[in-house]
Amino acid sequence: MRPRTIIFFALTNLVLAASAFTQSDGSQQNRTGRAGTFAIVNARIVTVTGAVIENGTVVIQNGKIASVGSGTSVPSGAERIDGKGLSVYPGMIDAGTNMGLAEIPQGANATMDLVEPGTLNANAKAITGINPHSSHINVTRVNGITTAHSLPGGGLIAGQSAVINLNGSTQSEMAVVGEFGLVVNYPRIATFGGFGTGGGQQIDFNEAVRRRDTQIEELKRIFTDVENYARAREAYDNDKSLPYVANNVRLDAMVPYVRGVKPVIFTVERERDIRSALKFIADMKLKGIIGGGQEAWKAADELKKQNVPVIYTHIYSLPVREDDAYDLLFAAPSLMQKAGIRFAISTGDQGGEVRDLPYHAGLASGYGLPKDEALKAVTIYPAQILGIDDRLGSIEVGKMANIVVTDGDILDPRTNIKHMFIGGRLIPLTSRHTELFDSFKDRK
């Protein structure tokens, strides 16, 4: 398995507004781009949520989409971008990455901030570990991905994930939802040493089942403890004659998730484990999300009944069983869509290959997912699952101006990105890769 096993893990709650970007001036062309009023004119506008506008204008002002349409006027003083022959898309969103937490997985451990040891790491917040200056960020965004969901990876309860825009000099400038979901690596039957590492001694099957069950009990106990802890704390707050309950930083972090106020992301792949996780979600009355979801289509009935969405990360994975159809994991999004499951397509990548997100969606479409659904699966659907569809995921007036201008179909690997905006800032199309290219391309 590629390192993406780690993918799914984490966290919660600061909703930091996009006001973050307003502090920079509008003149300098630096790494974080420049603000201004922009009008992309004469372009094909793929709004995603509405009809395609064949020849229209998008106006970007104050970091937001000010207007969209075929008859839209351009405000005086706006910087005009000729969109003739170009297409305008909303920035793509990868809902399952470790962006900013994992620079170089092998040979540079010091660049890894992904995995805490121990079982209960609920207080580990991705937003405090993400490196705003990771070279993965620029490399990813110049391919049209403007937003990523970054998840921590260690333990049974891995920590809290963050939804970030791929721009900003500080973590808070990047944050769209600083603490989004609690990441739980849902226990599974593992006879090869656990968590899909492939290492360790093979263990007896019944022992593996017992360990899985023990872990699920442990998970239940932790969730119950949190509720009891929270009640005891609240009781004391209301009545100081009751026993004082000392602060527990790990349990504290879990309260909004255990109470169903904020989502819990369960990383889980196989049907039986997904059904087990769904039962856990129902029993505990959680707001659940499935991450990974290799066999989610098989649990369509229960997923739909509970309205639990799936962040699917297995386009670039091999089928698990030798007798699975060769194209099963390419076709899984199509199966989910036909079954009526809410889903997003994600790379599940640590960071370096998140830029391939459009091709994951493209491949899913090659194997049955309608093209418009494939595009939605990397734009508005992840926005909905991440609870940011009021601000991102489509080209609509009032939304944050995360916009990509291309010379072709955004899901096609031959397509070039010509301009892009994040939070209304015009982003330079440079990265570690273009810089190295420029350094060596003319060497004789």
Binding site: M1, I104, G198, F205, G366, D412, P413, R414, F437
Partner: protein
């Protein structure tokens, strides 16, 4: 437990099915009215291809086939040469002989597994041939095999008999075992630095040169006693004689450049620099030496020595006139090399046909089989893929894959079989033998898992990196 069941039953059911869908042995097959991307002579619209006796017999318009020929109507479809992966570990039951740093005596052809399901999945992605290489744990890994993916046929038929011999070298983090940890008291294996790796290789060539001299002297009757045969040095002598191609894994530009200089010193040419993630930094030197380069199109940062990799590597090498191929090194990635080739049109702007060459004719040339495969030209092997649309579009999929004129993958047949397979699986699941085991023993492992311990730790995370 599903995995277990699988191991017992489903391999059997897969093997039981004839996967060669409709062998054309000796017969004719006509592909009609396709858009043909030849890889050598541009794209031909509305073109027919006649396959006879495993070869491309004719390419043109309005070709008629003999009676009994299978005819495939490819109207609206695209045809390309079969994809060739110049860096693969598919169908290998072992990857690294990790005990010594020079294991030139070991041979991939001794560990081929013709029933590896990854072969079928590769065919379903349009791959027809591959260079099977040792891993990169050793400075000199062992003798490679060039195969065509004739899934369902005996293993002997996979090996391309007239392909030049090859050998895997490796430099950098892997042969110096950077990520290996040692127990207290355990002596680390030499070499541990890039200096040592280069000297390990130099030492092997010096010994091989002496060994060759000893044989030359004996054959010239200058000496009376024949030298003892040395299975480690004989393949290296073949390199010195220009009979064996070196495929050298490496990342940093300096280590690969040092290898080119070592090759110059000993008077031979390097076949390919494998991975060559920094090849763009010294493209003119590579062009001058005449080595090919086989790369990941855009993998980077998965390890320290991959941090300077850029997706413009192919473009810069191409611009310098270097033969570039795009490889997978992965059973997973192998299935979508067509989209990897498409990427070089974006990253730098390589023209379409040259991009296609990077997964067809260029690797064929690197493997020394460019005279018989890698393009749609008459008299070449009929290694052909029929795609639902343009092969560089993410919306297109491989529909039919032929190797030497025989259909080894046919999507329509695959889809049609699924119902019967599912039924068979359901029946097998009910058998007692497939119920979860009692206590005392684990489930049998499936073949791909059996491989794990042997696999090359570092290469697994390269690019896609399924194992």
């Amino acid at each position: 437990m599903i995995r277990r069941l699988f191991s017992i039953t489903c391999i059997a059911c897969i093997l039981a099915l004839p996967l060669v869908v409709s062998a054309q042995a000796g017969g004719e097959l006509l592909i009609r009215n396709a858009t043909v991307m030849t890889a050598t002579r541009g794209t031909l619209a509305n073109t027919d291809i006649l396959v006879r006796d495993g070869k491309i017999a004719r390419i043109g318009k309005n070709i008629t086939a003999g009676s009994g020929a299978r005819v495939i109507d490819a109207t609206g479809k695209y045809v390309t040469p079969g994809i060739i992966d110049a860096h693969s570990h598919t169908m290998m039951n072992a990857v690294n002989e990790g005990t010594l740093s020079v294991t030139s005596m070991t041979r991939i052809r001794d560990v081929l597994n013709p029933s590896d399901i990854a072969i079928y999945r590769a065919l379903a992605g349009g791959v027809t041939a591959a260079l099977l290489l040792h891993g990169s744990a050793n400075s000199i890994g062992g003798q490679s095999s060039t195969v065509k993916f004739k899934y369902g046929r005996p293993v002997e038929e996979f090996v391309v008999a007239d392909a030049p011999s090859g050998i895997k070298f490796a430099m950098g983090e892997n042969p110096k075992r950077s990520s290996q940890s040692f127990q207290p008291g355990q002596t680390p294996r030499y070499p541990r630095t890039r200096m040592g790796v280069l000297e390990t290789i130099r030492d092997a060539f010096l010994r091989a040169r002496d060994y060759k001299q000893a044989w030359d002297d004996f054959r010239a009757k200058k000496t009376k006693v024949p030298p003892r045969r040395d299975m480690e040095l004989e393949p290296i002598v073949e390199i010195l004689e220009g009979k064996r191609k070196v495929h050298a894994h490496g990342y940093r530009s300096d280590e690969h450049l040092n290898l080119l200089r070592l090759a110059d010193e000993f008077g031979f040419k390097i076949g390919t620099l494998q991975h060559g993630l920094e090849a763009y930094k010294f493209a003119p030197e590579i062009a001058k030496h005449g080595a090919g380069v086989s790369i990941f199109v855009d993998s980077w940062s998965y390890k320290l020595e991959a941090y300077d990799a850029i997706p413009y590597n192919a473009y810069i090498l191409w611009k310098n006139g270097v033969n570039v191929s795009i490889n997978s090194d992965s059973n997973e990635r192998m299935r979508r090399l067509n989209l990897d080739a498409a990427k070089v049109m974006k990253y730098g702007g390589v023209p379409e046909q040259d991009a296609l060459k990077m997964i067809t004719l260029n690797p064929a040339i690197q493997l020394g089989i460019g005279n018989r495969t890698g393009s749609i030209d008459t008299n070449k092997d009929a290694d052909i893929v029929i795609w639902s649309g343009h092969p560089f579009s993410p919306y297109s999929i491989a529909e039919v894959t032929l190797v030497e004129g025989e259909v080894y993958f046919d999507r329509a047949v695959d889809v049609q079989r699924r119902t019967a397979l599912a039924k068979e699986r359901e029946e097998l699941e009910k058998l007692d033998v497939n119920k979860a085991p009692g206590s005392g023993g684990g489930p049998p492992r499936i073949p791909t898992e059996r491989l794990r311990g042997d696999l090359d730790d570092a290469e697994h995370i390269d690019g896609g990196n399924d194992r």
